[in-house]
């Protein structure tokens, strides 16, 4: 285990060039950052979003005519798992509540907590366990202008510049304005932020920030946030009912066209059931497990775009779904960890990116898309990547530099989870560099929302990665944990307000919008057996599927 002899030979070059690079780093001499036009040039040539193949115009729905990656267009141009009458839905109704939250990650849990604080009864339903979400995988931190030399004004500029000035401005204003409020909320709930002895929050730079505003909790910031939010929701279990292994498969509407709950599938008993609600929050996360463009992904098992499909069929247009974030530093070795994320904090702490000749080729704190494009260029065009025995390619991320810049023991202290993860394979990242390559990380786009987290469908709110616009075409590090908490809170609060003003109880519900969607597909000539939401990815080998002679697959699920 550990690196092969060939790779260890190449690492000697990294060690040889390290003293000189450390000298430069201590003097504050960084690799020259790209200009705005330089950034655009490398993006146009090397970023996967800019490739014309593997995409098509979607033929149906509120964003008809938009150009999306094929794998995503496929789930939009799919049939419902189930289409039944209002009378059938009535028979299937098992729960009624004020606010229904679909999704058990950070956004959904934040929404549930805020809705409960407004006096609402909440059901939070999630298809895996509460907390099985990309939230727990976010390592690097959460942004917020908490320091005196910073303000939401500069945070706004960083976000919109990082997003190539495409972001929805009102959402950026909400994000940056609320950020310090969210940090304070998390502190109050008992989150172990990294702090100085006097209580001052420690902050760092991230790619594309002009002020240090990255707050962290070790290198498990997302996990720490999820643990605290989940723990708090369990303290409030009298009002927040959590249903696990319950996958939402369709939004339901009332006779006035308002979102009025959802149809669910019990992952274990294979039963369907209905939850009626006065308002609904969609917080189902992203689509990494669709493996857009064939990329490996950092995402959790359930990231299959379910909320996008449901919201889209219910009539919510999509924003920025042409844009996908590839994290610059995914694991390229060992194969067992392929695609997993290595936090940007490693570069924030001063580790260089190096090619096969141990040379720097990029400024380490470019925005993520630019950084990714530069790594792809170094490997694919210039042929300066390191190729592994399993045919992967990557560049070095020189983590041992951190031991010198921040003092001995810094790697283990600052990156405990990453240190353990590599030690399992005999690689001590405080002594040897990591091999990295861009990995499919984040869905920049999603359901269109306003700054109060409301969609255009009355009673339907959305928050987190399932929405689009906050980050425009590119998200900066530390703004996803911020997005889920800011908009999760806003969605919860506003869904509660909506529920409280709902006249009477929820009446009959229907799936008319799904029926209409099917008809639109037929009219557009989309003839398919595909079923969505996928619910889970299907990793069954073809050799096995060929012999599963009586098994059907509905979306990604066996049935």
């Amino acid at each position: 285990m550990g690196y092969t002899p060939e790779m260890l030979d190449l690492i000697k070059k990294v060690e040889a060039s390290r003293p000189e690079r450390l000298e430069r780093s201590k003097k504050g001499l960084d690799f020259e950052p790209l200009t705005l036009s330089g950034r655009e040039e490398v993006l146009n040539k090397f970023h996967p979003d800019y490739k014309a193949d593997g995409r098509r115009d979607v033929k149906v729905g509120p964003s008809k005519g938009e150009n999306y990656p094929d794998r995503f267009a496929d789930v939009l141009e799919s049939k419902a798992r189930l289409l039944v009458s209002g009378a059938e839905l009535d028979k299937l109704t098992e729960y009624e509540t004020d606010v229904l939250v679909i999704g058990g990650g950070g956004a959904g849990t934040a929404a549930a907590l805020m809705a409960q604080e407004q006096g609402c009864k909440v059901i939070l339903a999630t298809k895996l366990r509460h907390g099985d979400a990309n939230t727990v995988m976010a390592e690097g931190g959460i942004q917020g202008a908490t320091q005196e030399v910073d303000s939401p004004y500069y945070h706004y500029l960083d976000v919109i510049g990082g997003g190539h000035f495409t972001n929805t401005p009102e959402l950026v204003a909400a994000l940056t304005n609320d950020a310090p409020l969210v940090i304070e909320w998390l502190e109050r709930l008992g989150l172990m932020f990294d702090k100085d002895p006097d209580g001052r929050l420690r902050v760092r730079h991230g790619g594309g920030t002009c002020r240090k505003r990255m707050h962290s909790s070790g290198d498990m910031t997302g996990s720490a946030i999820m643990r605290v939010l989940r723990d708090e929701s369990r303290n409030r279990s009298a009002d927040i009912n959590v249903l696990e292994f319950s996958s939402a498969v369709e939004i339901l509407k009332d006779s006035q066209g308002r979102a009025a709950g959802a149809l669910f599938y019990n992952m274990e008993t294979e039963e369907y059931f209905v939850i009626k609600a006065k308002s609904t929050v969609m917080a189902t996360g992203g689509y990494g497990r669709l493996h857009i463009q064939g990329f490996a992904t950092t995402n959790h098992y359930g990231a299959t775009a379910d909320g996008l499909v449901m919201g889209y069929r219910a009539g919510v247009p999509l924003a920025f779904m042409h844009s996908t974030q590839y994290h610059p530093t995914g694991v390229a070795f060992p194969e067992q960890n392929i695609g997993l994320l290595i936090t940007e904090k490693v570069r924030g702490l001063g580790a260089n990116l190096l090619n096969i000749d141990a040379e720097q080729f990029v400024f380490e704190r470019e925005p993520r898309d630019v950084e990714s494009a530069c790594i792809i260029r170094e490997c694919m065009e210039r042929g300066n990547g390191i190729v592994t025995a399993t045919g992967r390619v990557g560049v070095w991320l020189d983590s041992p530099m951190i031991e010198v810049l921040e003092g001995p023991g810094a790697v283990k202290r600052e990156l405990p989870a990453k240190h353990i993860q590599f030690m399992r394979y005999g690689i001590d990242i405080s002594k040897v560099p990591m091999l990295v390559y861009p990995t499919l990380h984040y869905q920049n786009g999603g359901l269109t929302i306003a700054d109060d987290s409301a969609t255009n469908v009355p009673g339907l709110f959305a928050a987190g990665e399932t929405t689009g616009g906050v980050h425009g075409e590119n998200r900066l590090m530390g703004n996803s944990l911020l997005d889920i908490t800011v908009f999760g809170r806003r969605a919860g609060t506003n869904a509660a307000t909506y529920a409280k003003s709902y006249d009477g109880e929820v009446g009959d519900v229907n799936m008319d919008h799904v029926d209409a969607y099917h008809k639109e597909m037929a009219e557009a000539g989309v003839d398919t057996d595909r079923v969505a939401p996928l619910v889970l990815p299907n990793y069954t080998r073809e050799e096995i599927m060929e012999k599963q002679l009586t098994t059907n697959y509905q979306g990604g699920l066996r049935a």
Binding site: R129, V149, D178, L201, F295, E335, I356, P537, R541
Partner: protein, 258 residues
């Protein structure tokens, strides 16, 4: 075209890329033998065998706690504990996964508890039954000193308990093994929260910022930015003063937007 470029195979999602000459080895999933590639993690090997996970699979990256796994290797009496997504298979391993383990969590009001031994005793009195067997520590897939933090909590050293348990992913293996029936991971979560809230000094510099936001100090500034043209925003973006990496004592020249 370079040599390197021709050799690169495109990764297709999570489907395994098997190096030439990969050997298959027998593993026993809940007692039943399957032949799987020797280089795979247990998680991917179980999928290779033909299973589709509903339970026992979450982040696939060693941080969510969904895939705790228990195994023995034929001919060796030792029990091993691991995460399926992080552990490579071994020839003749007999494994089972533990997607859930019952552990009661004590509800509390975070605003009304304190960081004391009394809080611990009241909510989790069973910690006093610890027999110091260290089985919890031996079963932890995150290499946490579980018994040490339990003992620290027992003594009222909440800070130490919080620090030592920080990497906990709440998989439940510790509690599944404990002869004293302690519910370690819930106890640890309690310690971390009360430590952060009541023992660590709060961020005083954050309070005036929160007050300023609640007073609407940034509303007009942000409104102006929302209304600005892309051209103006580009100018403002390029003109931002950048805080240096070594920033002690640094002050921006322009302070009107702070």
């Amino acid at each position: 075209m370079s040599e390197a470029k021709r050799e690169i195979r495109v990764a297709t999602g999570d489907q395994a890329i098997l190096p030439e000459g990969t050997q298959l080895v027998p593993i026993y999933i809940m007692g039943k033998q399957y032949q799987v590639p020797e280089t795979m993690t247990i998680q991917k090997a179980v999928e290779f065998a033909g299973y589709q996970f509903i339970r026992s699979c979450g982040c696939r990256g060693g941080i969510c706690g969904a895939c705790p796994t228990i195994y023995r290797v034929a001919g060796d009496y030792h029990l091993h504990f691991c995460l399926a997504c992080q552990t490579v298979v071994q020839k003749d391993m007999y494994l089972t996964q533990m997607p859930f383990f019952p552990a009661n969590r004590a509800a509390y009001e975070i605003e009304e508890v304190d960081a004391s031994a009394e809080t611990i005793m009241k909510l989790y009195p069973e910690v006093m039954k610890c027999v110091a067997c260290n089985t919890c520590t031996k079963s932890c897939p995150m290499d946490i000193e579980v018994m040490e933090y339990v003992n620290a909590a027992m003594r009222g050293d909440i800070a130490k308990a919080a620090r030592l348990s920080f990497d906990c992913i709440q998989c439940g293996l510790c509690s599944s093994r404990c002869p004293a029936q302690i519910q370690h991971f819930h106890l640890a979560q309690l310690c971390r929260r009360v430590h952060a809230k009541y023992q660590v000094p709060q961020a005083e510099h954050l309070k005036p910022r929160v007050a300023a936001i609640n007073d609407g100090r940034f509303v007009d500034m942000l409104k102006d930015l929302v209304g600005d043209s892309e051209e103006t925003l580009r100018e403002l973006y390029v003109a931002r003063e950048s805080e240096p990496q070594k920033s002690e004592g640094w002050q921006p020249e322009d302070k009107q937007f702070l």
